[in-house]
């Protein structure tokens, strides 16, 4: 767990995304799943794009994935972040992608890197997933 500035933009929650943020608050990375055809989806939605079912549940991700893309942001600098700021698009092993921060620095990140989820919390208690290098598999 890492603590960051409370000046960062806060997550915000809609009725149909609440379960995901509830999971994050408990340190669980959830993935919405269609209860009829089993298709996983992220970001969440009220219905399944594959079969139109309104029935859903969620699985918990193992939190391990691969860097699908990344950005190294320099300008403009937003309050609460340190720059250059690396932001990842992670493809979880379960098959969905999500955007998250990382402790990987500009000169040590590459597409294909293996990463695992960890958690950060801002000074006001808002929790977010972020990703560290997955050392067990040797990383890059």
């Amino acid at each position: 767990m890492m603590t960051v500035s409370g000046r960062r933009p806060k997550p915000f929650i809609l009725e149909y995304t609440r379960f995901w943020w509830d999971g994050v608050a408990e340190g669980r990375l959830l993935i919405q799943r269609c209860a009829d055809c089993g298709t996983l989806r992220h970001p969440p939605a009220p219905s399944c794009a594959a079969c139109q079912s309104l029935r859903w549940d969620a699985i918990e991700s193992a939190g391990i994935g691969t860097v699908y893309s990344f950005v190294v942001s320099h300008h403009p600098e937003a309050p609460g972040f340190e720059y250059p700021l690396v932001v990842l698009l992670v493809e979880l092993d379960e098959g969905i992608r999500l955007v998250a921060g990382t402790d990987l620095r500009r000169d040590e990140v590459a597409i294909g890197d293996r990463v695992r989820v960890d958690w950060l919390r801002d000074e006001d208690g808002a929790q977010l997933p972020y990703f560290r290098r997955l050392e067990e598999e040797g990383g890059r």
Binding site: P9, F12, P43, S73, P79, P84, V99, L128
Partner: protein, 390 residues
């Protein structure tokens, strides 16, 4: 096969204010001035106007523009969402209105103080993001620091480089080309200021892999476009720019700027859908297009559009550009006004005006023999495009 829509309507007038960094006047003034200029160009008056079309982001409501101008009555007013994706869509709505007889003369307009007022490049106003589905996409990216259009585009650009072995010099060639064309356009902000590829490579990082010179300008200004039926256009002052095709597009799993969850993020199925529909409408294809105005908010999306519109295959845009195809003597002279990188950023409406000039033969960088021009709106968001013809 041609649809009834094809060649039913035409653009008969274009008008703009100067493109600046500080207009020194209201956004309503910019809308008024550009509309009057476009009507004057067409040889029409405010009393001929009975319809409008604009962007949902436009801050000048139709009634306030009509009131200021003394327009007698509006019987059609339409708006298109999704920012820079909407410019060609607004012209499509105007064309539908006149083709169906719902209106006779429709003014499309976009006017803003985007540089001296609220700058898109600064990201969303802090703590002012409404908790709505329209803004849901922000909840997945903003808390991690992905706040601006450049940062959001960089994620796609990085993957494009990875997938196709392109380099940031391939992005830079788009910028160099636009600035070369702008250097010869007295109305361009960067008139007389070409750049080299070395200068592009030396410009500072904004959001890697995007440098400053990969990003369009931020601009104050207004641009208006007048649309009427082709029949009426034949009697007016200017050579009509005939609307032979128009389409809007939303693709599968589309988000606003951050369609990161698709199997392939380095291409835009909504752009391909627009292309397919326009070729069907007009009976034209990529080989029939003599010049293009490709929405250049960020250079990488010029590459993806060349591929998604079928001018070259996937991953081939870098070579296509390096071979000189986008030059004035190439197979597809592109962004002859200097684009939004070089002329100004009017949410793509200034590019539609350049499409009209190319058909009239009055571009500041006029290629020979232009009969069909592709004009596009922003990729990365729900989008739209036009084919303008002689």
């Amino acid at each position: 096969m041609s649809a009834p829509f094809s060649r039913a309507a035409a653009i008969v007038g274009i008008g703009a204010t100067e493109f600046s960094k500080q207009s020194g006047r209201s956004e309503l003034s910019l809308a008024v001035e550009s509309t009057l200029a476009a009507l004057d160009d067409a040889g029409l008056s405010v009393h001929d106007v009975d319809g409008t079309s604009t962007f949902t982001m436009e801050t000048n409501p139709e009634n306030m523009l009509a009131r200021a101008l003394g327009i007698d009555e509006l019987v059609f007013f339409s708006r298109v969402g999704f920012g820079g994706g909407g410019g060609c869509g607004s012209v499509m709505h105007a064309a539908m209105a006149v083709a169906s007889g719902l209106a006779d003369v429709v003014v499309c307009y976009r006017a803003f103080n985007e540089r001296s007022g609220r700058r898109f490049g600064q990201g969303p106003p802090p703590d002012k993001v409404a908790v709505t589905t329209e803004n849901e996409y922000r909840s997945w990216v903003n808390p991690h620091g992905l706040l601006t259009p450049a940062q959001q585009t960089a994620m796609v650009a990085q993957r494009y480089l990875h997938d196709y072995g392109a380099t940031t010099e391939d992005f830079g060639r788009v910028s160099v080309l636009s600035r070369k064309h702008a250097a010869n356009n007295p109305n361009a902000w960067f008139y007389g200021q070409p750049i080299t590829l070395e200068e592009h490579q030396a410009s500072r990082w904004i959001a890697e892999p995007l440098r400053l010179l990969d990003c369009c300008q931020e601009t104050d200004g207004g641009q208006a476009i007048v649309v009427t039926t082709l029949d009426r256009a034949r009697d007016l002052r200017q050579t009509p720019a005939v609307i032979s095709a128009a389409a809007q597009g939303i693709g599968p799993d589309q988000h606003t700027m951050v369609s990161y969850y698709r199997e392939d993020i380095a291409h835009f199925p909504e752009v391909s859908a627009v292309a397919r529909r326009m070729w069907e409408q007009s009976g034209l294809g990529p080989k029939d297009i003599d010049a293009a105005v490709l929405y250049d908010h960020f250079t990488p999306y010029v590459l993806t559009q060349l591929e998604d519109f079928g001018f070259c295959g996937r991953g081939e845009a870098a070579g296509y550009i390096a071979e000189g195809n986008l030059e004035l003597d190439g197979t597809l002279p592109t962004n002859t006004h200097g684009g939004q990188l070089g002329e100004g950023y009017l949410h793509g409406m200034n590019g539609i005006a350049e499409g009209v000039r190319l058909i009239r033969g009055t571009s500041p960088n006029q290629p020979a023999g232009v009969e069909n021009v592709l004009v596009t709106s922003g990729a990365g968001v729900p989008t739209s495009a036009l084919v303008l013809s002689t």
